[in-house]
Homo-oligomer: 333 residues x 2
Amino acid sequence: MTTDTKLSTLGEFGLIDRIAAHVAGGEGVITGIGDDAAVTVLTPGMQLLTSTDMLLEDVHFRTTWHDPLALGRKSLGVSISDVAAMGAIPRWALLSLAIPAGFPLEFLDRFTEGFLAMAGEHGVTLIGGDTCSSKNGLVISVTIMAEQFPHLILRRSGARAGDEIWVSGTLGDAALVLSLLEDGAVCDEPSLLSRLLDPSPRTRVGHALAESGLVSAMIDVSDGLLADFGHIAQQSGVGGVLYLERLPISADFRRRASRFPSFPHHLILSGGEDYELAFTAAAENHEKIESIVKNSGIQATAVGIVTSFSGVEVVMEDGSRYIPRKPGFTHSI
Amino acid sequence: MTTDTKLSTLGEFGLIDRIAAHVAGGEGVITGIGDDAAVTVLTPGMQLLTSTDMLLEDVHFRTTWHDPLALGRKSLGVSISDVAAMGAIPRWALLSLAIPAGFPLEFLDRFTEGFLAMAGEHGVTLIGGDTCSSKNGLVISVTIMAEQFPHLILRRSGARAGDEIWVSGTLGDAALVLSLLEDGAVCDEPSLLSRLLDPSPRTRVGHALAESGLVSAMIDVSDGLLADFGHIAQQSGVGGVLYLERLPISADFRRRASRFPSFPHHLILSGGEDYELAFTAAAENHEKIESIVKNSGIQATAVGIVTSFSGVEVVMEDGSRYIPRKPGFTHSI
């Protein structure tokens, strides 16, 4: 195939066939791509978990930055992150693409390759979707389906005063890279770049934490820790104190931070797209949590304490306290 | 609320809260809108059916034609049609919206009202979704989930030579209205307009046909009967003959057809968006099928015969035969 092969020469059904050719059967799949609806069967006793995300060109990604392979990976990865945050086992995905006229087929092939690679790494089977034409940029919509036994599902609503607040991995890397790319700066550290362009959903640790029975609430950090822990606090009817000096940052982040006029705390607290897990657990289980996380091959850090009074505040390095007015993050370039 | 209320003053979370406020619990819903993923439970013994559709402004709809209420209804209706065509019981939906800056909130409120009205009419609960900003027009993505016992699920692949080919309702109305609107012609017959702008998914008759055990294959007619029966033929390893004079057309269609230089057969055969059901059943059960369909409050017509040789051909009114080269339809305005 040459790079100038266009979707228009293939048509909608041709593209679907082209994608379907790379998809094998999967766990619980009765009927995959090719009928009016996909048919799947859940593991007996498990409940269904579903989440969906939409990604738009020039809003969530730019084709000039995003290698199509990484974009395919990320398109599924961000949805897997949602069900990982419930402690669930991802199973099936639907992929919809709205494609501009003349869009290179090779991009779509690489995108599909990345999407299916991410799927394979997390035990997910692509079972259906939709394709149509777009007049303005590529639009990607992904639905993920997962399953879990009812008593193992972790929600945002179970945090209790006195619990420790944990976060996996490091924070702020993706927001830092976005900031660098938006400024036109060079960012050639692959490990840092991949935090924005090809994040790793925390399926394994999420599942292990669910099975431990030790976690009271969990969420994925997609809008920044302040906003996302804020959701836990609100839905649990509690508050929280986060200690700035404990927030985990990468060596890459620390080195790159020097180019900012002041240390970019806002990227750690309110930058988006970390796709780490934030969760709460009784302080007495600190060592057990550490051990579970370590066995899953990543790190996690206790960064604060759940409080009985509402609101989230940040204790700064000098002991002063910062109470944010509006912790949200909007996924817009 | 006034018409100049803008989404930007409300924010992403505000919009989600606004939609969620109108959603009550539903059958099988454990956790709806508001966590990382929705949690639902299937009826024991049933399998899960899922389908997704994306609708783009100026590709699938125009806000100048589409009343937001009807657009909300249709956005869910086209997905419900997919699971109705499998004989399944629709249960849950996810709704993603990418919204241009300055988009009127009143439009979104009316859209949501229509979406939830369609949901209520078909026993569907909105359990989650995604909202984000769009730089170019409204983008809507809907995922529908349904359930059914394995032995009652109807696929495209079961048609047998000798079966009759049936179609529900009438064909070509939506394509006729689209043709009129595109030409700038006046179309003020509500019953005709609604065939394009507010189609009715055939949930009830689809379910009744599945329960009868008499139907060998079924599909929804979204790309025109020729293309969609073509899918049944291909996936069943058979062919078919369709009799043009038997194809059901509405009185509105017949009257409006007079403005065309020749009778617009192409709209009946290959126009899109009928959202009727096409299905096959043994000829000996003709009367039983008629009775089941009648009890569901609509009509269905036997329009052809499944053949053992591959390919689909149309017998014209003068007895000549038309063998289409490419029966497809692309959902583009």
